[in-house]
């Protein structure tokens, strides 16, 4: 389930950044501070976007940055940061990005059920209202716990 890998302490709201690179750094630092990844993983995730393009912006306003599981991942986890001011990733269909879900996974399977829940949640307009209006991380995690399956 999503709440198994996206924990309350992995959520940071209303973060101020000036570009997409800083946004990934912030989301990555949350993972790093919680022992999920190391610095190298964050650099790889940024490198991925530079080399491969902004395909990680998967739907309107939402980016899912990640790198390979082979570098710098200690455990499977997803951080969430919401941006005070949205940033452009260069994805003309889905920019600007307000929400960053940064993914780190140790293997090819451990995150499937979490991504499945996330996919369901991103299909609910109500989830975006919660993200937009949340006063604290707990209210986001409470919503996820009630609505994930």
């Amino acid at each position: 389930m999503l709440s198994d890998v996206l924990k309350e302490e992995y959520i940071k709201l209303n973060v101020e950044v000036s570009n997409w690179e800083e946004a990934i750094k912030e989301a990555g630092t949350v993972l790093k501070d919680n022992g999920v990844v190391n610095e190298q993983y964050i650099e790889e995730a940024i490198k991925n976007v530079k080399e491969l393009g902004p395909y990680i912006v998967i739907t309107k306003g939402v980016a899912l940055p990640h790198a390979t599981n082979k570098i710098g991942v200690n455990k499977t986890g997803i951080s969430l940061i919401t941006l005070k001011t949205p940033v452009e990733f260069g994805n003309k269909d889905n920019d600007p990005v307000y929400y960053i879900f940064m993914l780190a996974t140790t293997d090819m399977e451990s995150h499937i059920s979490a991504l499945s829940s996330l996919s369901e949640l991103l299909g609910k307009p109500e989830f975006f209202d919660v993200l937009k209006n949340a006063k604290d991380s707990k209210s986001v995690i409470d919503y996820i716990k009630v609505n994930e399956n």
């Binding site: 991925n48 491969l52 393009g53 395909y55 990680i56 998967i58 739907t59 309107k60 899912l64 990640h66 790198a67 390979t68 599981n69 269909d93 889905n94 993914l103 996974t105 090819m108 995150h111 499937i112 991504l115 499945s116 996330l118 996919s119 991103l122 299909g123």
Partner: protein, 95 residues
């Protein structure tokens, strides 16, 4: 039963989300389609009827001879459903 292949670069983020979404749509519409997913370099091992990938990767498959669906917004169920319907319509004409 047709075989679909979701292609991605690392095979663990966006393409996995796309596969999850497609499986939901396939189930809801009873499409006769099995979905596998792999990274770009693994393409040769599959013999898909249709490739589904993020729109910026579509060009990689233009010489593959496969039917290709490019996706911009993986949460856009209506688009995905319509594109799969178009694929089935077309494959019906070929027989």
């Amino acid at each position: 039963m047709k075989k679909g292949l979701v292609m991605c670069r690392t095979g663990m983020g966006s393409s996995l989300m796309l596969k999850i979404k497609l499986e939901k749509i396939i189930q809801e519409n009873n499409f006769p389609l099995e979905i596998e997913h792999d990274v770009l370099s693994g393409f040769m091992g599959h013999h898909p009827d249709v490739i589904i990938t993020m729109s910026d990767l579509v060009d990689e498959f233009k010489d593959s001879g496969c039917y290709v669906i490019g996706v911009k917004d993986i949460m856009d169920e209506e688009y995905l459903t319509n594109e799969l319907k178009k694929f089935f319509e077309q494959s019906k004409d070929e027989k």
